[in-house]
């Protein structure tokens, strides 16, 4: 339901403005609005100065940057400091941390890039490691590394023959197959044979793998020890870099957390201060807050700031103020269903919050459509797992709790319909307690349409309450007459089909005919269209029967597969698969249609969107928690 708001005005001497705003921030109840009064603030005196705010914004930018650069989950090494922190030294420290962390980030990026380049040589190291570790055969030996693409290994024999012809025993060729399919070739040549080997490789269009430039050694053979040392050094520097970041995180995080709160709170106070009207001697603050919170606010103000502050309630007509913010408060059991309501724009202040009705009818419609003990238990298990793994207060937790409610209704209706994975329950002696959905199509259809009539009439009753609260008496009377016409039409139909004694038919029909022109007189010709649409909406609830029957038929087909496919094992496998598909459809389709019945049919009768969100002046953490809820 929507919390009834009181419009509150707080006035007092200018000297008490800052402590008054701080107290309001501590209480976190007042949604500020700008009072309808002139502002005569002269020289800046109250609240934070523009220069301080500019510094605070810059510090927040530095702080966000530093927090993003620190490793996540590093344990705090230092104790949390007491608030408030002095801002100038913190600004200098923040700058220092930002510079240091930026330097680390640059260094880390360069080291990782170099490491990635050097790692390309790892395959060569591993392939020729034993060869490279032994002393070279020639003191002036030169190594050439060549990479042959996959499938080109056949040309090795030809290359070896040509090398023997050009340099004789002054050259060695070693080849290794790499995991990638390529062939790594190492050519070791004496100094005197280096030139013919190079000429031969150029003629064969084989490019040598160059040594990394950062090592300052063009010959890969001699560069190899330096390369290994460099890789070890990179690893060491990366570890040192990470250790220093963890160290900074341990030292700084407690301070950063406190500073973050302090800076955000300062900026929130500055925003609030801009909404205050200040005269030569007095200030005025105005806003909305829940009615029951006014008395505690007044008492706390008087206790902490003295009798000079006046807290008065301005509003006298609580539900007619369209500009009042909207806060929803529902019992714990209904709260998850606010997820359905919040998917729509908030209801207008003074209208009705449909959450409690959604909490009853949404799972009921879902349960009627699924209506199976087996599927209900599966859904309850899945919802239980999601609930256990989800964050309290999050959307996943709310969805899981909604699903639990839906599962309970599905199990309950499954018992009433005698269904356990379709007709499988009959094999264990399960019998329908209400009606058998397979054969009792007409009773099921009548039941769902009757349920639709109840739901739509409830929507119209809520429309009467909303219109009455807004002072729209004529509209309220029109909605009431629409209810009367729906009930009378239902009576006439029941009498016509002899469900009720036939003597009811004529009075009911005459009453409908009399009510019709009265309805047009009250609401105009549009009332006729609305009445017809209300009847259309009631018929739309037949979808509950249609989807419920379809779900049962699919389950029955799944069960018949066991005996229909020859092999019992194959039949069982297909039956399980079909039940799984039916369960998936049974989750999706009833959810969509239960939502649609609420959003289009039910909400269409009374829902009045356009409420402003209630955002009280509060401390940053509480405000951000409320915004994400």
């Amino acid at each position: 339901m929507i919390i009834e708001m009181a419009r509150v005005r707080i006035a007092g001497p200018r000297a008490l403005l800052d402590p008054a705003l701080r107290l309001l921030q501590d209480l976190g109840d007042l949604h500020l609005i700008t009072p309808d009064a002139p502002d005569r603030r002269g020289a800046p005196g109250e609240g934070p100065s523009p220069r301080l705010l500019k510094h605070a914004r810059r510090m927040l930018d530095d702080l966000d940057h530093v927090l993003a650069a620190l490793p996540a989950g590093a344990a705090a090494g230092a104790p949390a400091p007491a608030r408030p922190l002095s801002l100038p030294p913190m600004a200098r420290r923040l700058r220092g941390w930002r510079r240091e962390l930026d330097g680390f980030a640059r260094m880390r990026a360069e080291l990782l890039e170099e490491q990635a380049l050097l790692l390309q040589y790892r395959t060569f190291f591993e392939a020729f490691d034993p060869l490279l570790r032994r002393p070279p055969r020639w003191p002036d030996a030169r190594a050439s590394f060549v990479l042959l693409r996959a499938g080109a290994a056949a040309s090795l024999g030809e290359l070896e023959r040509k090398l023997q012809a050009a340099a004789g025993s002054q050259v060695e060729l070693h080849a290794r197959q790499l995991p990638s399919g390529e062939t790594a070739v190492l050519l070791l040549a004496a100094g005197s044979a280096a030139a013919p080997v190079e000429t031969l490789l150029a003629a064969a269009r084989l490019d040598e793998l160059p040594a990394p430039r950062s090592l300052g050694e063009p010959d890969l053979l001699r560069a190899m020890p330096a390369l290994r040392a460099r890789m070890d050094e990179i690893e060491t520097r990366l570890r040192a870099n990470e250790a220093r970041r963890v160290e900074i995180a341990g030292q700084a995080r407690p301070e950063l957390d406190v500073l973050q709160l302090q800076l955000h709170d300062l900026l929130l106070l500055a925003e609030a201060e801009a909404q205050v009207r200040i005269g030569e001697l007095l200030f005025v603050v105005e806003g909305w807050m829940p009615g029951p919170a006014v008395a505690p606010l007044r008492a706390r103000m008087a206790r902490e700031l003295g009798p000079d502050l006046v807290v008065s309630t301005v509003s006298t007509e609580p539900w007619t103020r369209g500009d009042a913010p909207v806060a929803l408060a529902n019992p714990r059991l209904f709260r998850p269903f606010e997820l359905v309501t919040r998917a729509f724009p908030l209801p207008r202040y003074g209208s009705i919050d449909p959450t409690p009705f959604v909490a009853i009818f949404f799972p009921m419609f879902f349960g009627l459509m699924m209506g199976d003990v087996g599927y209900g238990v599966l859904l309850a298990l899945a919802a239980g797992i999601v609930r256990r793994r989800s964050r309290p207060g999050g959307n996943a937790r709310a969805a899981a709790e909604m699903a639990l409610g839906c599962a309970l209704f599905a199990i309950a209706f499954g018992v009433l319909f005698g269904e356990f994975f379709g007709t499988l329950g009959a094999a264990f002696g399960m019998r329908p307690l209400a009606f058998d959905r397979e054969n009792a199509l007409a009773p099921f259809l009548i039941f769902t349409i009757a349920l639709g009539a109840v739901h739509i009439v409830l929507g119209l009753v809520l429309a009467i309450i909303g219109a009455w609260r807004q002072g729209e008496r004529r509209k309220a009377a029109g909605r009431g007459l629409t209810i009367a016409m729906i009930v009378l039409t239902a009576l006439a139909l029941l009498a016509a089909f002899e469900v009720l004694p036939s003597r009811f038919f004529t009075p009911a029909a005459i009453a409908v005919l009399i009510a019709f022109p009265v309805l047009i007189a009250l609401e105009g010709i549009i009332a006729v269209i609305e009445l017809m649409s209300a009847f259309g909406h009631i018929l739309s609830y037949a979808r509950i029967m249609a989807l419920g029957t379809a779900s049962l038929m699919l389950a029955m087909i799944a069960n018949r597969m066991v005996g229909a496919l020859g092999s019992a094992v194959v039949g069982m496998a297909f039956a399980l698969l079909f039940h799984l598909v039916n369960f998936a459809i049974g989750l999706f389709s009833p959810t969509i249609h239960a939502l649609r019945l609420h959003y289009v049919e039910f909400f269409g009768e009374f829902y009045s969107p356009g409420g402003a969100t209630y955002r009280p002046l509060a401390h940053w953490r509480a405000a951000s928690r409320a915004a994400s809820a």
């Binding site: 259809l445 739309s540 979808r543 249609a546 989807l547 939502l595």
Partner: protein
């Protein structure tokens, strides 16, 4: 002979409304997908919009059931 017509009428009630629903959803779906790419906050409206034409086939199904029930009775 009469039974054939009852069955045929019942099947036609579902088939024609099914085709009509498919045609409507085929037009609505791509338009909504394009809207959602630009404005993901329209997801709720999109679900409702796609579900609206299904009323046709559901009412077709109800009519088919009524034809069968009346025919059998």
């Amino acid at each position: 002979m009469e039974l054939i017509w009852i069955v045929f009428a019942s099947a036609a009630a579902v088939a024609i409304t099914g085709l009509a629903t498919a045609w409507a959803q085929g037009r609505i779906g791509p338009a909504l997908a394009a809207s959602l790419a630009e404005k993901p906050e329209l997801a709720t409206t999109a679900i409702i919009m796609v579900a609206i034409p299904e009323t046709m086939v559901i009412l077709g199904f109800v009519v088919a059931v009524m034809i069968l029930l009346r025919g059998a009775g």
